[in-house]
């Protein structure tokens, strides 16, 4: 059974999530989290400090199944195939050089985690990405995966320093990314349907290129909507709009 929502308060959202994970004794991905207040550090850390507040409850596996089933029903209703966006399929061959880079990246990551005093382990997964597991996982992921992205970015920079063709290192923490991809796909499909129903364009919040790609791909085969990235810089927002009849 899914548990009731419970409130958690801590100095930061991350800490509150960690507290929730401890309370329910489940990993991050089995929690349904709502951020009530992000808290503030106050002026120079002296005055006006406000704690972060979240509501969290435990999800059970049955709920996820129900969710998955309804998704499938939605897809069938639309009578189209949704592209498999999940690129976790292992590349057939990994060259020795790539393997060597991967091992170096893993060592660097282990060292960085240790220096951050985080209780976690990293291992190379069969699909050639590095998976972090352990108690300190909430802190490693961060809000919207921000810390995990920073970690992946830095490790890539560090490991590919001075080499001409760089090997891309992917880092995940207890299946967070996979879960995140599923979540984005669900959102994309749902919003695509809303656009078709209302005939009005919808603008999404700003996202990084990888997340945007998932949204674009999820709606690529839908002949009734268009997706477009709007804005400047790394973070852009996607606008989903109804496709003009003349175009198709």
């Amino acid at each position: 059974m899914t548990s009731e929502y419970k409130e958690f308060e801590a100095k930061s959202v991350d800490e509150a999530i960690v507290a929730a994970m401890k309370e329910f004794r489940v990993p991050f991905e089995e929690l349904d989290i709502k951020v009530i207040s992000e808290g503030s550090k106050g002026l120079f850390g002296l005055m006006g400090q406000k704690n972060a507040k979240i509501m969290a409850r435990r999800l059970n596996s049955e709920d996820e199944e129900v969710l998955g089933r309804s998704n499938q029903a939605d897809h069938e209703m639309q009578g189209k195939e949704v592209n498999e966006v999940n690129n976790d399929k292992a590349s057939v061959e990994t060259s020795n050089k790539d393997m060597e880079t991967l091992l170096r990246a893993k060592d660097m990551l282990t060292k960085v985690l240790k220096l951050m005093h985080i209780d976690a382990e990293s291992k190379i997964n069969v699909n050639n990405y590095i998976e972090i597991t352990g108690k300190g996982i909430g802190i490693i992921i961060g809000k919207h995966g921000k810390t995990l992205d920073a970690l992946q970015f830095l490790i890539n920079r560090m490991v590919n320093k001075g080499s001409e063709n760089s090997t891309r290192i992917r880092i995940d923490a207890q299946g967070y990314r996979k879960r995140h991809v599923e979540h984005l796909k669900t959102i994309a499909i749902r919003l695509g349907q809303k656009v078709k129903r209302t005939g009005k364009a919808i603008s999404l919040e700003k996202m990084n290129p990888y997340d945007r790609r998932i949204i674009h791909l999820a709606l690529k085969n839908d002949s009734k909507v268009d997706t477009k990235s709007i804005g400047e810089g790394l973070y852009k927002s996607i606008v989903i709009s109804p496709r003009k009849a003349s175009k198709s």
């Binding site: 930061s12 660097m108 960085v112 220096l115 985080i118 970690l151 920079r157 560090m158 810089g233 790394l234």
Partner: protein, 76 residues
């Protein structure tokens, strides 16, 4: 915290010997000062400050864990 930045910075630059990190500790907030060779400045800052931002994100996450705050300053 000092060791974390030192390790990352040394892995990023061409002249690791010239990496200097100093930690000025306060009660709650400590300031981490990072100095690198002039030619390596771009390596620790990155395109549109992306590398520096990523280091600050990790620093924040690590210091949150020990109920502290840390700021990274890159000294030219």
């Amino acid at each position: 915290m000092k060791e974390l930045i030192e390790y990352i910075a040394k892995a990023l630059v061409d002249n690791p010997d010239e990496v200097q990190v100093r930690e000025v500790e306060g009660e709650v907030t400590s300031v981490i000062e990072l100095r690198v060779a002039k030619s390596d400045l771009g390596k620790v800052i990155g395109k549109e400050g992306r590398t520096a931002r990523a280091m600050r994100t990790l620093l924040t996450a690590a210091s949150t864990k020990i109920n502290k705050r840390a700021v990274l300053e890159i000294i030219e």
